[in-house]
Symmetry: C2
Subunit: 566 residues, 2 copies
């Protein structure tokens, strides 16, 4: 496995053996390591010193269920700190099949021309992107698949990334070559756009599967892992319903993101319930599919294809976070409307969380009424047209709130809070506040922790455990749901890693990797000028009681300031 | 002298004796002291815990020439740090005449109604502001003077402050009751707007001059000060030409802000030269006046009234910073055009520096051509109309650059650099980078220091001296030009303070006050989460050579990081 280092100004590729320290960690942790080693923490995120890095997780490349995720990172144009956003789909697998340990994109071009970076056994090549620039993600992907063949993987940006809007992510194809898996958060799409890179096409023909040190042990562990995964009761829930299954729990806890986080419960959850969505998708023939795998080998299949009444796919997938932020958060509970907003947001190449939060803030500012789906679509069209209002919204919730003069803005480190109100699930509030990534539920969701979510006590501890675990999973390339398999059999992570790499790590390896990752990230942010001041929820959330629990966020600041002292 | 503490929610006034520590310092230093004592550094600038504070300088109230300035401060909505913006005019004098040591506006109202705060011997009163809300600064001032009598002082905001735009300042009447002296920087107008306070009217009838411990000594020192002031060769230059006199020096050094800081020299300075402006104003009869005093007792009269060819006043004053940022920086060198842009910006209640810088960034983004005065006016009208583009621009250069995707943005701590390019006057670059106030020439201009301005060496030292001196002057209520008098006779500051207060301070009192002020400010910012990362010029200024000197900013970062270690 080699580091592929590409200079975007000179359009050159240099292959290198990764240094020892880069070989012991993958994915999110590897990104933090490379950033610390190579990117000046105080650099302008759009300047020539920042680097856009793709790092597959340690277990990517073997079609282990839910273990082929790609981590993409840089100094974030949105938060100004360390950034990793990961996604399923086929990008990670194809990179590993080409023997790419990590892909480091350096410097930036001199000219205004747009490019497609093509990676294959022959190396790297820059093709003009003039035929796809300006196109949405869906049309771009279609054209690129026509040009490069239907078996390639593609990571690409939409118009929002081209416009350098910090709500922009990097979209990846799923296993069926649908642009569906976005590394959404932190403005990485804007960074890619600033590099005049419309897409990275990865053609793994002639590539080889990653080597395995002890194939027999690997197969045995894989088998046991699949069994553990299938045996876990939650697996079936997520197979049947997907991520939206968590909605009912949030409703119970009063933690839904309703109308710009002004209420934690819906009067009626049914129209956006997991059961309703599943029934709808079962009812609707054609392309509708309530259970779809985004990566090859995935047995959970928590993704879906949402289709309209005519059976034609509206969007894939429709996830809980999007139903939360672009639905409930906007007062919209019609899944068909939400799915159309989701498709448009995907097509623009935007993060549905930050964009949904921005639209919620815009509605609070009076630019559309809560519940007005057409109004929400009109706002997305402003982004598409690149109007001043569109540029404001496309920058995400933090800038939208500032420019529109709204106080109630749900962000930490300029990144929007996701679909769990931190006042009613306080451990997740601790994660939002303290994660080096900015507000991010995937950095340590605590909703399933056995704790009184309304009490400020003990939240530091549950958040810390969740953050370490999630950071660990993010080094492996694991989907959060891989945890269903590993949680009951943590020795399997050890066994898979030892078999894959010939290591001799212990059963605590997930925590070791997670702690190392967080340590590196916290250090990068420290050098980038972050302090305790950045590890706070918005002040209004400490003051404004959330109906119906009437909770405020009251975890002691001392807990926030000491969470990484271990 | 008493602290007048006003609760904006309850609309109550409480008078208090200032604590000992608040009595030994005034103006800018007092603001920092009060902020540290009373405002949580991590608070939301618009939240209920921030306070808007008016603090006259220590020598305000005696019509000492150039010594009646008012310092206004808060935690800045623009920089997020400590903020002081000071202004001449009559606000400081009237406050002192009412015996007000400092005016602290606390909390915020519950309702959306707008208010005028009226201060007089009878105390404080809140009058409805419904007849002036929405009006520009000029019409508002006119109406308020009609209502409250022509002898009051007024501090007020324009539509930009009402809209909570962070480019908004707080305008003050000059001695002739013209709204002309704006405490421009750091978004204090936006904070005042968030408090639903359109204006503060100060009626000093029945008030008394501030007490003087030793009147004879005071008079003697005052006399000597006036003599020293008149004897200084620069005094006549500023009397004749005003602040624009510095333009030729900047032209010589290659440090003018030309077309969004892309060049340091004009091909032809003449149309914007001090001599041309003076001749024009002498030529034009009517209200034109090349030498006008903004404060009673001022003998320098560096202000002016700019009138059009018809002799009608266009704006007062037209200062060098505005000619720089709204003229040269936009490629505009017609003084009549610049004066009209200035008048419109004043009327909106905006900082001409940050707004000019924002327009320069907008021009770089292609929203108007450099040199297009009508285009610049159109952009200001967008702010007036409150369109999304207008809101972007009204937020200042930092947000404008972010939202429009422009890299070349001249800001530090989100506050725009003023009309001295830091690459060619590197000591001032050190001031921009390190001042706790954000980029601000008044925090320590080094253009007259005896040093090679292009060399990175020794700039830390000249900036430190300038910053300490300026912080000292800002505690006194001194205009920068009072220095012409004190620089040759520093014992006069000692004598005036000792005579006024019965103190026994030494000749180094200016430095003592300056150091104390900076220490307090740095400490507030530290608690607010500022680090060395915030003490940097924009990265592109370290890379992009400025014609014709071809200088980049190359003062060692270590110098920036150690400037306040003394």
């Amino acid at each position: 496995m080699e580091v592929w280092r590409i200079n975007l100004r000179a359009q050159t590729l240099q292959k290198e053996t990764p240094p020892e320290a880069w070989q012991r960690i993958g994915g999110r942790g590897l990104l933090a390591r490379i950033l610390l080693d190579e990117v000046p923490p105080l650099c302008d995120p759009y300047g020539p010193h920042n680097k856009l890095i793709f790092a597959p997780g340690l277990l990517v490349g073997h079609m282990l269920s839910s273990l082929d995720r790609i981590s993409i990172g840089a100094k974030s144009p949105l938060t100004g700190g360390v950034k990793e956003a990961n996604a399923g789909g086929s990008t990670g697998l194809h990179l590993v099949n080409l023997g790419i340990h990590s892909l480091i994109l350096e410097d930036r071009p001199d000219s205004d021309a747009w490019w497609v970076l093509h990676l294959s056994k022959e190396g790297a090549r820059f093709d003009p992107a003039s035929d796809v620039v300006g196109l949405g993600v869906y049309d771009s992907a279609k054209k690129l698949l026509e040009r490069y063949g239907k078996d390639v993987a593609i990571a690409l940006i939409g118009p929002a990334g081209e416009m350098r809007l910090t709500g922009a992510g990097i979209m990846n194809l799923d296993k069926d070559r649908v642009p569906a898996r976005i590394a959404a958060r932190g403005g990485l799409g804007a960074l890619m756009g600033s590099r005049r890179l419309k897409a990275i096409v990865i053609d793994d023909r002639g590539g080889e599967k990653a080597p395995i040190a002890d194939p027999a042990a690997f197969r045995a562990a894989q088998k046991e892992y699949n069994k553990a995964l299938q045996a876990h009761p939650q697996t079936k829930v997520y197979t049947d319903f997907g991520t939206i299954a968590v909605g009912r729990l949030c409703q119970t806890f009063g933690a839904l993101p309703v109308r710009n986080f002004s209420a934690g419960q819906l009067m009626d959850l049914e129209p956006v319930s997991a059961e309703h969505m599943r029934n709808l998708l079962l009812e609707r023939d054609g392309e509708a599919n309530p259970s779809h795998a985004c990566m090859r080998g995935c047995t959970i299949r928590s993704s879906n294809v949402f289709a309209g009444p005519d059976g034609k796919a509206t969007v894939s997938p429709l996830e809980y976070e999007t139903v939360g932020l672009m639905g409930m958060n906007l007062g919209i509970t019609d899944l068909d409307v939400i799915a159309r907003l989701n498709a448009k947001t995907n097509d623009l190449g935007l993060d549905t969380i930050d964009t949904g939060a921005a639209l919620g803030v815009a509605m609070e500012a009076g630019l559309a009424a809560f519940g007005d789906g057409e109004g929400a679509m009109r706002l997305l069209q402003e982004i598409e047209k690149g109007t001043p209002l569109g540029r404001i919204l496309g920058m995400g919730a933090a800038i939208t709130g500032k420019v529109l003069g709204v106080e109630r803005v749900p962000v930490v480190k300029n990144q929007a809070i996701s679909a769990y109100d931190p006042r009613s699930i306080k451990g997740t509030g601790v994660t939002y506040a303290t994660s080096p990534q900015g507000a991010d539920h995937t950095a340590g969701l605590t909703i399933r922790a056995k704790i009184d979510h309304l009490s400020p006590k003990g939240q530091k501890e549950v958040s810390r455990i969740a953050q370490i675990n999630m950071a660990g999973y993010d080094t492996l390339g694991a989907c959060i749901f891989a945890g269903f398999g590993f949680s009951t059999a943590p020795h399997l992570i050890r066994d898979l890693l030892n078999a894959r790499y010939g290591w001799q790590v212990g059963e605590d390896i997930l925590q070791v990797l997670g702690r190392e990752t967080l340590k590196l990230e916290v250090e990068f942010n420290r050098r980038a000028g972050f302090t305790a001041a950045d590890n706070r929820l918005p002040e209004w959330m400490t003051r404004e009681a959330l109906p119906p629990t009437n909770a405020v966020f009251d975890v002691p600041e001392e807990d926030l300031d000491t969470i990484f002292d271990w």
